[in-house]
Symmetry: C2
Subunit: 153 residues, 2 copies
DNA sequence: CACATTTATGCAATATTATTGCAAGACTTG
DNA sequence: CAAGTCTTGCAATAATATTGCATAAATGTG
C-alpha cells in the first residue's frame, strides 16, 4: 500500500509538517505537484490523521510532568470505565490508558506546579473513588519524547 | 506575555494546524493579516515549537502500545544515563523518562507485534544490563492521548 | 489628565504556494 | 504484446500567505 516515497513523506511530515510542499518535493525527489498529490492521498487514506502544532511545555506554563499508576479496588470493567472518565475530565491528564498487569490504569500528567498535583490527587484518589493504591512518579528528565511513529524507510 | 487571543490561537493550532490562516482568523475574530502576524510571533517567540503530522498508529503498522517501568541495580546517575541511552536507541521506544519513586525509568513503546516486544526485552533487560526488575504493561485501551498542552483560554 | 511613544489592527497590493488539466511515460494484467 | 490503469511533470490557474501603509488602540510619562 505504501511505497518507499510514501514512507519518506510520512517520516518528514511526522517531524516537520511546516515546510512548503516544494521543499518536501525536493527532499523526496518528486515534482511539487506529484508530491502534493501523494500527501493528499495519504490524508484521504487516513494515514495522516491530522496536522498539529507542538508547543513548548515550559512556555505554556506546564513544565512539570508526572506519571501515575493506579490500582482499583475491584477490577471490573464498569469500575474501570468510571475511573477513566473521571481522570480524562481532568485538565492535567494528557494521556490515560487501561493496562494489563498489577496496575489497572496509567496516567500521564502535565502540571503547572505541585499544588496542582495535590488538588488533582484530591479529586481522583479521595475516599470512595474506588482506588486501592496509586504511585506517583515525577519526571526528572525526559530522555525521549516522540510523537512520530517509527516507520522503516 | 500571552493574551486571550494568543491562547485561543495556540489552542486551535494544538488541535488542528491544518486549516488556513483565513479560517483561523475567522475563528478567533481577527483579520487574516493580523492573525498571521500573531502566529509568526508565537513561532519566533518559541511558544510554537513545530508543526507536525500525526499518523494513524494502526495504519502505520504499530497499533500495539506498552508501558514499561524499570528498576536499576544501582541508582547512580551514570548507570541511569547509560540505560536511557540504550533505551532511546531502540526504534520502538517513543518516550523515555527518568522518574522519582520506586521505579527509575519509564518507557513508552510502540510495537508492531509481541515478537518485537520479546526482542526488545532481550536487548534492554538481558543479564548485565543493570536492570534489577521491570514491569511491562500492555495498553488495553487508550482513553485519552493528547499532544495538546492544557491552556486556560 | 494630556501628551508622546509604542504597539496592534485592517485593508489592499504583492508574492508565494497549492491545485488542477493535460499529455506523456510507466506499470499491470490478460 | 496490447488495452487499460496509474503516476508523473509541466504549465496555467486558483488559493493563500505576506508586507506596506495609514489608522486606531494601548501604554507609558510628565
Amino acid at each position: 500500500m505504501l511505497d518507499k516515497i510514501d514512507r519518506k513523506i510520512l517520516n518528514l511530515m511526522q517531524r516537520d509538517a511546516g515546510r512548503t510542499n516544494a521543499q518536501m518535493a525536493d527532499e523526496v525527489g518528486l515534482s511539487p505537484s506529484t508530491c502534493l498529490r501523494r500527501v493528499r492521498r495519504l490524508q484521504r487514506g487516513g494515514f495522516i490523521d491530522r496536522i498539529i502544532a507542538i508547543l513548548d511545555p515550559a512556555r505554556a506554563g506546564r513544565g512539570l510532568k508526572a506519571i501515575v499508576t493506579v490500582e482499583l479496588d475491584r477490577h471490573g470493567a464498569h469500575e474501570q470505565r468510571r475511573f477513566l472518565e473521571l481522570a480524562c475530565a481532568q485538565t492535567a491528564v494528557v494521556q490515560a490508558y487501561a493496562v494489563t498487569g498489577q496496575t489497572d490504569v496509567v496516567l500521564m500528567l502535565r502540571l503547572r506546579d505541585m499544588e496542582e498535583l495535590d488538588q488533582l490527587c484530591e479529586r481522583l484518589f479521595r475516599e470512595g473513588s474506588g482506588v486501592a493504591r496509586f504511585f506517583t512518579m515525577m519526571v526528572i528528565r525526559t530522555a525521549r519524547e516522540e510523537t512520530a511513529i517509527p516507520l522503516e524507510v
